[in-house]
Symmetry: C2
Subunit: 401 residues, 2 copies
Amino acid sequence: MGDKIQPIYEPLNSSSAIALVNRLGLFTENSVLTCNEIGDGNLNYVFHIADTSSNRGVIIKQALPYAKVVGESWPLTLKRAVIEANALKIFGSFCPQLVPKVYYSDEQLAVTVMEDLSYLKISRKGLIAGEEYPLLSRHIGQYLAKTFFYTSDFYLEPGKKKDFAKQFTNPELCKITEDLVFTDPFFDAETNDFEKALTEAVKNLWSDERLKLEAAKLKKSFLTEQEVLLHGDLHTGSIFAGAQETKVIDPEFAFYGPAGFDLGLYFANLLFQAITRKGSSKEVIFTHLHDVWLTFEAEFSTLWKQESKEVYCKTEGYLEYTLQKIFTDALGFAGCELIRRTIGLAHVEDLDGISNEGERILAKKTALQLGRALIMNRQQEAKIESLTTIVKDQLLAASLS
Amino acid sequence: MGDKIQPIYEPLNSSSAIALVNRLGLFTENSVLTCNEIGDGNLNYVFHIADTSSNRGVIIKQALPYAKVVGESWPLTLKRAVIEANALKIFGSFCPQLVPKVYYSDEQLAVTVMEDLSYLKISRKGLIAGEEYPLLSRHIGQYLAKTFFYTSDFYLEPGKKKDFAKQFTNPELCKITEDLVFTDPFFDAETNDFEKALTEAVKNLWSDERLKLEAAKLKKSFLTEQEVLLHGDLHTGSIFAGAQETKVIDPEFAFYGPAGFDLGLYFANLLFQAITRKGSSKEVIFTHLHDVWLTFEAEFSTLWKQESKEVYCKTEGYLEYTLQKIFTDALGFAGCELIRRTIGLAHVEDLDGISNEGERILAKKTALQLGRALIMNRQQEAKIESLTTIVKDQLLAASLS
């Protein structure tokens, strides 16, 4: 690691977590506090601390110096806690309603103390349980429009943007994505993890040179294109949702990258639901896809017209070119996410949670086919129907429509 | 400026420059030294210090805290001296024969002490005088292949590349390019400087929305695509040449950007000669264009096949895709350079030095037309004939072939 902040780093436990919030004066003096570690991620502790009488609480997130999923053998920089806290503050400044409030952050302890959102549900779990979340995708469309526009060269003075890009250089977490999303699933790599019944499908994918060439281009885009400050891990497990509210959490993968990446990850994680939901409940997911793109497109276009600093933003066709690039990139990144969540190291409950083996294998094969189709056919007109048509065709081919 | 190193910065003069080389022990104790300020750039002092008996010399380059061309009204960071010294060292480690040796650098004084190349000629001046430099473009092709490949994600571990990109963040000098190459010439900006006889041609350019859209895309590429460590200002005035030797100097604009930028600038600065040379002496320039591309392509392909670390470099078609992108980008950047050197703030002697007004205006109009043609038609097969055909067509149309 060689991290300068390591020597005084110490993992929190319930009592030191409570001591921290007391020191910060976040509760009244005579509060009786409870503390539970509720993290289900791979990289962090998450403590929920609540006042037993008022039920008011806060969250303390602490980065661990390794990935929990593989144990201490995979060390990870604690600097990601600083990146996460700073990203929450920046994103929160654009979308205060859509990002948890940060009360305190400490670089040395690698902790962020923030708003308790436990009255909401992680949207992946809610969607799997059949919840509809009618505002979720409109909120995400707004979030993407604002975070993209306000961190791009269309709005920021280029020197300021370069400062941000430097500040959010995030090599270790980017490497996780470079390897686990863009590389390993397309090769016979040790990190891959797939069911035996998928072997033939996986081997076909590994021998598909045309697909690998397109994956290479998408990886290159991820490695080189500093368009906007991305969340970097915007799947449905990084979003709390309720009937009225949406909160985007966990931006520890934040870095300057291609705008389509966040959108693509969100598309893909909705698409797992489009694959696994049955009958008419699929339609809700198509509505989500429409909502996120149309809201994003409208909001981003408004910001572009009203607040751009880049003189070329007045040039005919430049907005359309920009939206087109984001859409095309998003389809490609969505395809990579569908594939890697099916056969790579980190899976999704949407697929793995299907108890009937035949159904689960069919869903996984469909995810692979759809991923491939999106990567290979991403040069589509930037209309949400371009996406939904590809999806419906694949579902039909798999008799899952 | 707010530069921390400012307080102890002081512009050198002949006696302090001589004192510096004496302190460094670069000459024997009893040497009699002469010192001349020979800088003809806009941003720096360049001292040539030589031993009168042996005629051995060294160069001291010192960054000025403002652009000489506009006077003290345009302040510029002194950090560019550090960037230049570090870039010379890195480029020199890949191509020791093609980059001046650095003997010493001092961040506080913003100086770099380096090899004396005054036995060579600045290639722009030599080319204008009709020199042929048969090895020049092969050397530049090698230089580009090595500096691009060894600083790219194809070779470098991504974390190491991100470190370099951070180290070479160069906002102030990039802003000069963003404004003077990509923006101002396409708008009625104060910095522009063109002859009255060009007014109609310039107004046509400013009202050409299709051209401006393409210029916007090229500017976006410059702002966002961190492909390789660029020289950043690779015109023929940044290259010393002789019959056998070539040395690339002045990388103070170095930063991580799109690979095609350096190649495009070199193309464009050869093209001024293709426009202005007469009769059969034009052919030498077409040979240079062939040489630089073919050498680059061959050398880069060899490095790719022998030394890539990126696993996708073995994927069929990825090398061709990469070369195609570099070529297409280079044509576009060449077009921007042709236009900006004709009507923007900083001109070239190739055009301005033509004493006959009619000939000069025709050459300048041709540079504008050719610039436009390259930007609009840059999606060409990556073969050097794609470029030379466009050039010959434009020369023919202007009766300059």
